[in-house]
């Protein structure tokens, strides 16, 4: 399994004396990849996540119909019907096409949250841990305030204030998702901030910004990445929850939570309308969780050797 690369490449990647920064970095990446290969469940998770990305990228090609095209004669067809292998919903829209296009919405929400919340949380947490004292107290009490509210409730409050819509849902999720990252980053920072290599950097005249971004953050990054992948499932669920409650994506957008919400009315007679998007949420959440567990084994500095 490990010998999937032609040997000259492998020799280049695993060289004990890399000749450039990029080679050294890629070599480390390759070793991480090998470690990930040893974990079949993590690979399954990776496959699911890649499938989600592919589905989102190639949605127009994969979808057999227009996800918004209504056709009242074809409404509520069961799975396996000709032309609609997953069936249709109450407006006769093809469920397969809607689920595939829904991957785009889900990925869009997830990506937007990922480029905002962890970055903000990382900045807050490392600053609090590095400076300590009053900065630490103020930043962490602020974090505590945000942590004190259940996530969905706080997101609901934000959306209620900002108005429904997918951008506002993303904003609300990001605003409620950053505190755990700040906590994780602060804890990691506290374990490294007294170490000799930080003292050495200070003695060389490095400023706080350089030390935080160049020395502290790389060490927090692996915990944060693991936390992100494990958090994805939660983000997807909150997004779906907001959609379900009518506060996230608005009809007729094919968002999975919204699709479950509309299928709820027919759950007993036409179970597939709610079940198909529900399965999509379940599989994708599971995929992110499996990948997160695998990444934790690969990236966690405590489980890896020195």
């Amino acid at each position: 399994m490990a010998n999937v690369l032609p040997s000259p490449w492998r020799a280049w990647l695993t060289s004990r004396s890399p000749r450039s920064r990029r080679q050294a970095w890629l070599g480390q990446l390759y070793l991480g990849w090998l470690a990930l290969l040893r974990n079949p469940l993590a690979l399954l998770g990776l496959a699911i996540v890649l499938a989600l990305v592919l589905a989102a990228a190639a949605a127009p090609l994969l979808a057999s119909q227009d996800p918004l095209a209504q056709s009242l004669p074809d409404r509520l067809l069961p799975p396996g019907s000709p032309g609609h292998w997953l069936g249709t919903d109450e407006f006769g829209r093809d469920l397969w096409s809607r689920v595939v296009h829904g991957a785009r919405v889900t990925l869009y929400i997830v990506l937007l949250v990922v480029v905002t919340a962890p970055v903000f949380g990382l900045a807050v947490g490392t600053a609090a841990g590095y400076f300590g004292g009053l900065v630490d107290v103020v930043l962490m009490r602020l974090t505590d305030v945000f942590l004190a509210f259940p996530r969905l409730i706080l997101a609901l409050a934000f959306v209620a204030a900002l108005g429904p819509g997918i951008e506002n849902a993303v904003l609300a999720i990001a605003l409620t998702a950053w505190p755990p990252y700040a906590r994780v980053a602060r804890a990691e920072t506290l374990t490294v901030v007294r170490s000799d290599y930080i003292a050495a950097a200070q003695l060389q005249g490095a400023g706080s910004l350089r030390i935080i971004t160049g020395h502290v953050m790389p060490l927090c990054l692996s915990s944060v990445i693991v936390r992100i992948t494990l958090d994805m499932a939660g983000i997807i669920l909150v997004a779906a929850g907001l959609g379900f409650l009518g506060l996230g994506a608005q009809p007729p957008l094919p968002e999975w939570g919204l699709m479950i919400s509309s299928g709820r009315k027919f759950l007993f007679d036409q179970w597939w309308v709610a079940t198909v998007p529900g399965l999509a949420i379940f599989v994708v959440s599971l995929g992110f969780n499996l990948l997160g567990d695998g990444l934790r084994d690969v990236l966690d500095p405590r489980s890896a050797g020195r």
């Binding site: 920064r21 050294a24 480390q28 050495a200 003695l203 060389q204 400023g207 020195r306």
Partner: protein, 269 residues
Amino acid sequence: MDGTGKGGAMIEIAGLEVVFASRGDRVRAVDGIELAVAEREAFGLVGESGSGKSTVLRALCGLAPVSGGRATIAGLPPPRRRDPAFARRVQMVFQDPFSSLHPRHTIDRTLAEPLVIHRLGDRRERDRQVEAALTDVGLDPGFRFRYPHQLSGGQRQRVAVARALMLEPQVLLLDEPTSALDASVQAEVLNLLSRLRRERGLTFLMVSHDFAVIDHMCDRVAVMQGGRIVETLDHAALARRQVREDYTRRLLEASSAHAPLALQEEGGA
């Protein structure tokens, strides 16, 4: 040529006190010591663990609080925040090479960073300096893009020495630079330090618990106990074992009890 102290002393410590206070508990780690180290001298501080010798070094470079008295290097007080001028005069080599190099930075990045911070040279010039620094501490340039975990303890400490010398400081503070290394590797690193001091005219202030190491490296040595200096010896007195204090004698006996290091001048580098 520059602000060395009035008496020609490079490092001057007068009545230095370091008190660590935490939750009403006050620990007096350094309790009023006097010390003057001349330019190009190698001065040793020796004592048991907890005698405050490392704290003196950390106080000198601003890593421990100065609670009383004065401590200056080349006329500069310990920096309170970042101080580029101080960094170019004084650098430190830490005790444990396993924790003094950033685990996620290549050797290249570790060595180039001081130059980047002080905006010295362009990229090509920095590349050249990093390779020269590696060669100077006896490491093959092939080590340049390795990570610290791919090096042995001795190799790491060589990298730490190279990093300390990147800014061409005048003073090197050495905090038990070899105590975490094997005996044979200890000798190599000590010989490397001796050679670099000769070549570059460095001033050393070195902390150790091992008289053999101090004897090999230093012109004079101060013996510390409980945050105070109990006795100062020069090299000749140390060779003749002319010591005044019982405490010093006990330390000397403890050091000679384990096998003496095979230290030769300029041994295998």
